[in-house]
Amino acid sequence: MKVDESTGDARISIEEERTLEAAERDIGPIVSGDWEKHDPRYLTLERQAGALSSLFMTLVLGAIATIAIMFSELPARFHTPLIVVVSVLAALHIWWKQYRPRRLYEHASFRVDDDGIEIRRGILFRSIISVPRSRVQHTDVSQGPLERRHGLGTLLIYTAGVSHAVVPLPGIEHERAIVIRDLLLPRDRVVRT
């Protein structure tokens, strides 16, 4: 605990506060400072979401092909190539949506410490973005129906910046998202003595 000489106020540092909170809630160390993998269920979640979008895509492609073959004056010799193209596109979509989550998961990790949060992500363009705690404006924890099934959530960190006004952290355990949220919110408080 530091005492401010000019005002006589005592300031509890964030570390002290977190330790206190951790002790109160008995949830173990909140801040590890190490790189953390996303929840493995994130992989399943992404694949299921991908399967849904593949299903939709296949239906749309199938509908287009059906209309072109049965209800248009497309010459018969184009029918087979059309079916082939549509099947290949559908297969590619399915493959990409099942393959991408694995790569995404491999290259995604994050690190939370008292200074803020660092998030690694990307397949072709890989990035590490650092958001200091003091720059967090507000936060969202959101949960869609699929995420809820898996007990996952998405943390959205808002800054006053322009190109990275929102920094998303998807695919983490919902409870964990809340803990990180609480940690990141600017809460330096003054204890009057």
């Binding site: 072709l124 890989r126 507000h138 949960q143 869609g144 808002y158 006053a160 910046g161 809340i178 330096d188």
Partner: protein, 509 residues
């Protein structure tokens, strides 16, 4: 949901919200209603209306029940959605505005539409449609109390940047541009192209004018040019290319003249003054613009130098300010405009000192990019040159080789020049980036303006052991706070330094 000890009771919107949300939803659906009505020839209009009315009402009921908010110790918490759930925490000390709108209907029910805004983005962070007036009063009080605590904490923290605060400072003129300087500015800046595009748009509206202008151009060209033009591409490609070249040259000259005239009108009597902590720019012959820029809200400062600037020892200066919170029309026009459309390089340090007293650009040590940065850029251009040449070959034949060689020379010069000028520098507690070949730009941001820092590696970066580092500020339209083509290790170090610097400095507007 985890219920911590500090959670207050949850509140809902006023029941009248059902009405107001319903009306909003219906407004969104008026257009489909009209279209649907027209499509069905008006016969099923009533049915459409009924369906849409029911739908709006259901959605209104849905949002009403899904929307809850509460006051935690430090944050305003807003919960929305039943299927896609979202919990938003807005710290009191981050809230900048609480706006309330009350129209006649609102007054009838004793409610108001409330918008809570922080410094992030342009959209309000929370819109409460609608709250009873006592709830609005409560919110204002809660936020005020929360903010007061935060302010106390803030005062205990490090002090702000050293900025002159004397309120009684008279206004001093920092820069005044006469016709001579404006002439130069117009020549250099070359905004004529935008005018040309606008003019062309207008001209092509009228066939008659198009005919007139094109024929005029054709009439005035020397015979051999128009002959070559008419002879077609097969017969005399050389003459056509020359003709096109002459035309382009004339067009460029014309554009420069236009740009100069435009600058003389737009920036007429440009005066930049300082009054206390505000800068005021006044300019314009027909439309007189007055823009106010609070110095403490400046996020980035950039010095631009085109090739002609350097030739005539001039520069142009631009600043970006935080745009999130303020919806000041003057501020916005100022962001698009230059702070100094043109300034002699010898006068530049004095002006910079007004913006940031301890900023010294001269003598900065610029860290260079990866030694192979120029090669990377050339390789990038090579792809374009091949595509362009291949595309042009069927039309111009062997002349494609001439085009290609010109492009290659340009690409080599550009890559070398750009790589030579690329760099970053630490200037006290600020970071500076520079880039550009013909148009060189230096952009400076104080550490406390850094919102986030990003280390990035593209596919090509990884193959060549390079990476880029960029920082984000609240300055709208800030130019390139990015350092590309750094050696990977250097980039990691820079990223760490910048992120660390942002951590150690307090957040300020």
């Amino acid at each position: 949901m985890s219920s911590g000890p500090e959670e207050g009771p949850e509140r809902r919107l006023h029941v009248a919200s059902l009405l107001f949300i319903g009306i909003n939803r219906m407004r969104e659906l008026v257009f489909p209603l009209i279209v649907g009505g027209l499509a069905s020839g008006g016969r099923r209009l009533a049915l459409f209306a009924a369906v849409i009315f029911t739908f709006s009402l259901l959605r209104a009921v849905w949002s009403f029940f899904a929307y809850r908010y509460r006051y935690d110790e430090h944050d305003l918490v807003v919960r929305t959605g039943l299927i896609f759930r979202n919990v938003r925490h807005i710290p009191y000390n981050r809230i900048q505005n609480i706006d309330a709108v009350q129209n006649v209907a609102h007054r009838f029910f004793g409610v108001a539409r409330v918008q809570v805004q922080t410094g992030s983005g342009k959209e309000p962070e929370a819109t409460m449609n609608v709250l009873p007036l006592d709830a609005l009063a409560e919110m204002r009080e809660r936020v005020l109390v929360g903010r007061a605590d935060a302010a106390a904490a803030f005062e205990a923290g490090p002090t702000l940047a050293p900025i002159a605060t004397a309120a009684t400072v008279p206004s001093t003129t920092l820069l005044h541009l006469g016709p001579r300087e404006l002439l130069l500015a117009g020549l250099i800046e070359n905004r004529g192209m935008a005018l040309i595009v606008a003019a062309l748009g207008a001209i092509t509206q009228i066939d008659f004018l198009e005919e007139l202008v094109l024929r005029r151009i054709e009439d005035r060209l020397p015979d051999w040019v128009s002959d070559g033009w008419r002879a077609g591409l097969d017969e005399n490609v050389g003459a056509v290319l020359l003709g096109v070249g002459v035309l382009v040259l004339f067009a460029l000259l014309f554009v420069r003249v236009l740009s100069t005239v435009w600058a003389l009108i737009r920036l007429h009597d440009y005066t930049l003054t300082r009054q206390g902590d505000d800068l005021r720019a006044e300019y314009g012959l027909f439309t007189r613009v007055t823009a106010t820029i609070p110095i403490r809200r400046i996020q980035t400062i950039s010095v631009h130098q085109r090739i002609l600037h350097r030739r005539w020892s001039r520069a142009a200066l631009r600043v970006t300010t935080a745009g999130g919170g303020s919806s000041n029309a003057d501020g916005k026009s100022a962001e698009r405009e230059w702070l100094a459309p043109i300034i002699h390089v010898e006068a530049l340090p004095a002006l910079l000192e007004q913006l940031d007293p301890s900023l010294v650009l001269a003598g900065a040590t610029w860290e260079p990019p990866h030694p192979r940065a120029a090669t990377r850029m050339m390789r990038g251009s090579a792809v374009w040159i091949v595509i362009l040449t291949a595309g042009a070959a069927p039309f111009v034949g062997w002349w494609a080789i001439a085009i290609a060689s010109v492009l290659v020379v340009r690409a080599v010069l550009r890559a070398r020049g750009h790589a030579r000028n690329l760099g970053f520098a630490m200037l006290g507690d600020r970071i500076a980036f520079r880039h550009g070949w013909l148009h060189q730009v230096i952009t400076v941001a104080r550490f406390e303006r850094i919102q986030s820092s990003m280390f990035g590696q593209s596919f090509f970066d990884r193959r060549t052991g390079m990476a880029s580092v960029s920082v984000d500020t609240a300055g709208l339209g800030a130019t390139a706070l990015t350092m590309p083509y750094l050696p990977r290790e250097d980039a990691l170090t820079l990223h760490g330094t910048l992120a660390g610097a942002a951590v150690r400095t307090p957040f300020t507007w």
